[in-house]
């Protein structure tokens, strides 16, 4: 049941002196995962760079182990900060599979939780609850979304503090069993770390997710449409370019998530447009294309006087 490699191979085989790096790289198969990351995630330069660095470190660490150059297991707890819809959760899922391939985590599952699942409602409820989650996450990645909710500065008797203490303890003592990723919006995470210095120092990788540029948002839209088997007609795409630049300036813009929602609304409008004319023959092409009128019907294009 245990993964190949690990403890046995070290003691049985004499230490390796030479390693073919390319062979090793291909064997682990992270090149594939990294390429997929590049293909499927638009933009996010700093994030990808960091993931590459981590992947390289772990690869080298693997080889070093075979050469009997032991060192401590590197800490891989991470914090992801960034605005809504910048891909924090998506990247966390990817990280888990990368770490799994490199043999850093044994199972590679991601347990995604928020405050509710960690913090109890009465005295004595929190510790078992937090431990329950930790046990489920062992061998994989624990992803705590909106981690700053764990700490309620206005209420010093809040049970969140208890959950934090248990987390910190396990993060320190069972580093090889579990990777913890905290995620949240930039400013609030900064405040969270300021009031919990223990957390800040136990997390080796602080990764900041930048907002997407308009071009990146468009490529994201194209990618999403391709996955859903839709396409823009030429003028629809033009209209959508205008839509994105307008939507970006409006409040509550949440990057890729807004784009996804916009596309879902486009699909609705396209469907009702097609259904409005029942006497026509529908081709696959018709069913796939989104027209300019679908885009232009959006509320974004209305001058915001009436709102």
């Amino acid at each position: 049941m245990s993964p190949p490699g690990a403890a046995h191979s070290i003691s049985e085989t004499p230490p390796t002196r030479q390693v073919d790096l390319r062979h090793e790289f291909n064997e682990v198969g992270i090149g594939e995962v990294l390429d997929q990351l590049d293909r499927e995630l638009i933009g996010l330069r700093p994030v990808k760079t960091r993931i590459r660095e981590i992947a390289s470190l772990l690869l080298i660490e693997r080889i070093r182990k075979r050469m009997n150059l032991t060192s401590d297991v590197p800490t891989l707890h991470m914090s992801f900060t960034g605005n809504p819809g910048t891909g924090k959760t998506t990247v966390a899922l990817r990280i888990a599979s990368i770490l799994h391939r490199l043999g850093y985590v044994r199972r590679g599952q991601v347990v995604s939780v928020t405050r509710d699942e960690l913090v109890g409602q009465y005295i004595g409820h929190t510790a078992p609850k937090t431990k329950e989650i930790l046990k489920k996450a062992m061998g994989g990645v624990l992803f705590i979304d909106e981690a700053y909710y764990l700490h309620r500065p206005d209420n010093e008797r809040d049970y969140g503090q208890e959950a934090i203490e248990i987390l910190l303890q396990v993060m320190e003592t069972q580093r090889e069993d579990l990777v913890v990723i905290l995620a949240g919006y930039g400013e609030r995470m900064d405040k969270f770390f300021a009031s919990n210095p223990g957390f800040r120092s136990r997390i080796a990788h602080h990764v900041d997710f930048p907002d997407y540029t308009e071009d990146e948002l468009l490529s994201i839209a194209d990618l999403m449409l391709r996955e859903m088997n839709y396409k823009f007609s030429a003028d629809a795409r033009e209209a959508f370019v205008r839509y994105v630049s307008l939507r970006k300036t409006q409040p509550l813009f949440s990057n890729a998530r807004s784009i996804r929602n916009a596309l879902d609304r486009l699909r609705l409008r396209q469907a009702s447009r097609l259904v409005a004319d029942l006497d026509r023959v529908l081709t696959a092409d018709d069913a796939m294309s989104l027209e300019a009128s679908d885009v232009l019907a959006s509320r974004v294009f209305v001058k915001p006087i009436g709102e």
Partner: protein, 141 residues
Amino acid sequence: MRITQGCFSFLPDLTDEQISAQVQYCLGHGWAVNIEFTDDPHPRNHFWEMWGLPMFDLRDAAGVMMELNECRKVYGDRYIRLSAFDSSHGWESVRLSFIVNRPKQEPGFRLNRHEVAGRRVQYTTTSYAADRPEGQRYGAS
């Protein structure tokens, strides 16, 4: 007298690494692992006390080992066993059970002979340790 109950009990005590591998085997089959402890190891005492709840939905043995170590901290002077429960239809019972912790001194059992009518003898076993109250049976605390 060394108590032999459950799997592996005729082998030397399992190391933590071996326990962990067994647990991983159980988890791999989708069984829920429980930690139980007692200081009354009579073979007819089936109902040991549970340490926490049965652990469902675990993927890795590290979670069980964490609880086991906690349990050893508190009840290190007693018997602790792990049991794996298979909830799948048709089984719905314990599939594997083995002792993972035992007291330093195991005084063993006395065989009582009880003579009844017609020179018949009834036998029963009593644990020497169980003469003392619960919690004081195996040295410490």
